[in-house]
């Protein structure tokens, strides 16, 4: 599948698009079953996802938390399910939980809209992140989780370069 496309449809929004070689039925399962969700939503090398509580009931709360297994640092997101249309759409609020990592992503809740669309066995997923205000978006740009992510990726780069220079053990 083609890599994710990231754009800025407006001054307060980030749009992430990606297609998957699977029916919308399976993609929906992976997005709504917490046991499946925690298997792919982590993605930061060396981080685990100790908390993945979520519900698909409108008005229900969810809580995601990630942990850097190397030093125990944690952060997460919490929010409320606003709209759930099976196999088609999920809308939820998202509030940054600084945990022990710190940082801020502004005071307001972002609104996340995920839409699912299947054509010929390929499912297109669009994730729209709408920040509560420009100030919140700027907070997300300058601090918050992006710093942590950048750190993890730098770690990975370093690990990979160490692995590459290491003499293979026969």
């Amino acid at each position: 599948m083609k890599p994710a496309e990231v754009g800025t449809p407006s001054d307060r929004e980030v749009l992430i698009k990606r297609s998957f070689d699977a029916s919308v039925n399976l993609v929906w399962q992976a997005y709504t079953d917490p046991a499946l969700m925690r298997r792919w939503l982590t993605a930061m090398p060396g981080w685990s996802m100790p908390v993945c509580d979520m519900t698909t009931d409108v008005g229900g709360q969810y809580r995601w938390r990630w942990r850097d297994d190397a030093n125990g640092v944690e952060f997460g997101f919490t929010g409320e399910m606003l709209e759930v249309e099976p196999h088609s759409k999920i809308v939820h609020t998202q509030i940054y939980d600084p945990g022990t990592m710190g940082g801020s992503m502004g005071d307001g809740a972002s609104i996340i809209t995920v839409t699912f669309n299947e054509t010929d066995g390929i499912t297109n997923v669009a994730t729209l992140i709408k920040f509560a205000s420009k100030a919140d978006r700027d907070a997300a740009v300058s601090t918050g989780m992006t710093d942590g992510m950048e750190m993890s990726y730098k770690q990975l780069d370093e690990e990979l370069s160490v692995m590459n220079t290491r003499t293979p053990v026969v």
């Binding site: 994710a4 990606r18 399976l26 939503l41």
Partner: protein
């Protein structure tokens, strides 16, 4: 008025202008030749890009040339690149999971 840089790059014409002046310095007329919209509309887009400091104007003889402010563009690019990286990495894990689920469904059907 201070324009918002994200607003500036949200517009498809302005994104196309950025792509053009990223390659070489261009006059407003040369830029306008690439679009069906009026020269006036292109000028307005250029003014917004200049207010956001995404492009720079340079006077050469009688002509004004526009060039891309690369550092400014990099700031936004780096931020979006982080989103792309983290999500692509998640999505690759999702690809693997979906392939597994497909396989499981096939087996169940056979039984």
């Amino acid at each position: 008025m201070k324009r918002d840089i994200f607003q500036a790059i949200a517009d498809p014409t302005r994104r196309a202008i950025i792509a053009l002046v990223a390659i070489q310095a261009m006059t407003p007329n040369a830029i306008a030749a690439h679009f069906d919209t009026s020269r006036q509309a292109v000028s307005k887009h250029l003014r917004i890009l200049a207010e956001c400091e995404l492009v720079q104007q340079e006077q050469k003889g009688r002509e004004i040339y526009y060039t891309l402010e690369i550092e400014k563009m990099k700031e936004i690019d780096e931020w979006l690149e982080q989103y792309r990286k983290i999500w692509e990495s998640r999505f690759e894990q999702l690809d693997t999971l979906l392939a597994e689920l497909k396989q499981q469904n096939k087996k169940e059907r056979k039984i």
